[in-house]
Amino acid sequence: MKADPNRVLTGSHYLDGNHACAEGAIAAGCTFFGGYPITPSTEIAERVSRRFPKVGGVFIQMEDELASMAAILGASSGGAKTMSCTSGPGFSLMMENFGLGIMLETPCVLVNVQRGGPSTGLPTLPGQADMMQARWGSHGDYEVIALAPDSPQESFELTIHAFNLSEKYRMPVLIMTDECVGHMTEKVVIPPADQIELVERKYTKKKPGEAWPYDPDDDGISPLLPVGKGYKFHITGLTHDERGYPVITAKAHEWNVKRLMDKVNDHVDDIIWLEEQDVDGAEVVVMAYGISSRVMQPAISRARKEGIKVGQIKMVTVWPFPEKRVRELAAKVKSLVMVEMNLGQVFLEMDRCAAGKCRTHLVGHFGGTVHKPDEIYDAIKEAVK
């Protein structure tokens, strides 16, 4: 399915990451946005609120973040493509209902424009310290999909991709951007609508009375039921069976949770998106995501000019973590380096997967500003020793 030309601002624009993200959502067919303003994410909500009256869609400023997350789950269950945006403190408040979205298997997109934490921390300055919260912030066992844009252009493109993944896998998808990307203004090229491919929501082909909300196809994904068409569409955060009715047994729980895990784990090759450069024959491979994968470039170029065999992996998806690829590389390289604007979060996953087969280095940062290229260069020099 192609995007609706009325919703796509085809052309070259000078936009910041937050505005570009809003345009991505609109192009992807988002017609419901429930949110609560918080720096540095508010421009996403502002732009959506100004654009929806022109292109169609409902924007509600909710009373808080708990309600925002609940609203986008409800509207999505009603058939809309939905989104919300927030930053650290709001993200914390959304975690309970984010878990509800995982359990209900509700397609929606949640954007976290990360700032410095803990608590209210640095409202106006960047961080990447919510990455483990994105992975484990709600209770229970589950898998997540999280994307990290490095520019306004990617904020546009990855927002569309996030909607597509959420529809394909029937689950909430996270965009983990940050204040730097959100507030950086740069050229954004929005293609014609017929060049934007959208994933349509998969609805059941069965008749009312024969279809259940959790009745997976061979791919492990359960088609949704259209509301208002005579289907019994019962959903609950309690452990449930295929009918969506609570069943409080160990057996039902295994069936329920296993599906939540498998639908991501069985499709990691489709979901994981890495951009690799000069990795073959490298002695050191530097990994990063989001803005950190951008500011590491000058350091890597400098090291390569000096003859250091350094490769790089930009993780467009951070979750699910590319375990297989890191295990392969750990057996070949001298060192793996993780650059991230926190004190070691995704690094822990890299270190776990390296399993002692190579050295691992963290180029951490407290946040508030992005890494200086020199810090990354120094780490590469250390890693190649």
């Binding site: 106006t124 203004t185 951008r294 200086k372």
Partner: protein, 187 residues
């Protein structure tokens, strides 16, 4: 890779951010360059000193903040004084001469002043002082083509104010060219 790092400073309300936006847009949309704009967002961005950073390059800008700025556009003395020491020795300072009293930047620096607020008032509204500054900057630095800057002004200012803003741009540009002709600009 040639990158020019630009720091823009002034008071909140002078149009510091819009000035940065137009420079970046002119470079990346109407000229074949790359440009990022970042801006101060904290309490410091409200009311008093306000600052924006624009990096203009012939290839993708990878590090979007100034580290050793070559160019400064100064519209308030406080903002100028705060950031002047970060400038490189061979810097260019373009300033509003009734609002900024430049220090001695040494023999390698170039400093160009314009009474932009007075010009803006003569044109009808001092609110366009930032666009007078933009035209002046365009003429004395030659960093971004005249037509690209003018197109960026036309497509960035609020609807209905295009004519006033373009006049402001032309005034600043002409003043810069006059200085050039008198040999007062070394470029």
């Amino acid at each position: 890779m040639a990158t020019t790092e630009i720091r823009i400073t002034g008071f909140g309300g002078q149009g510091v951010i819009l000035l940065g936006y137009i420079i970046g847009k002119a470079a990346s949309i109407f000229s074949d360059q790359h440009a990022t704009l970042t801006q101060s967002f904290g309490p410091e961005a409200r009311g008093s000193a306000c600052s924006a950073q624009v990096l203009v390059s012939d290839s993708r800008v990878l590090y979007p903040y100034v580290t050793a700025p070559q160019l400064m556009l100064a519209m308030s003395h406080d903002g100028y004084a705060t950031h002047k020491d970060s400038m490189i020795e061979e810097c260019t300072v373009v300033y509003e001469e009734d609002l900024v009293k430049p220090f001695d930047h040494g023999p390698k620096a170039k400093t160009y002043g314009i009474p932009a607020t007075r010009f803006a008032e003569e044109l009808g509204h001092k609110i366009v002082l930032n666009i007078v500054m933009l035209g002046f900057f365009g003429a004395v630095t030659g960093l971004i083509p005249h037509d690209a800057l003018r197109q960026a002004v036309e497509t960035s200012v609020p609807g209905g104010t295009e004519e006033l803003n373009l006049k402001a741009f032309d005034k600043g540009f002409e003043y810069g060219m006059e200085l050039k002709e008198k040999g007062e600009v070394k470029v």
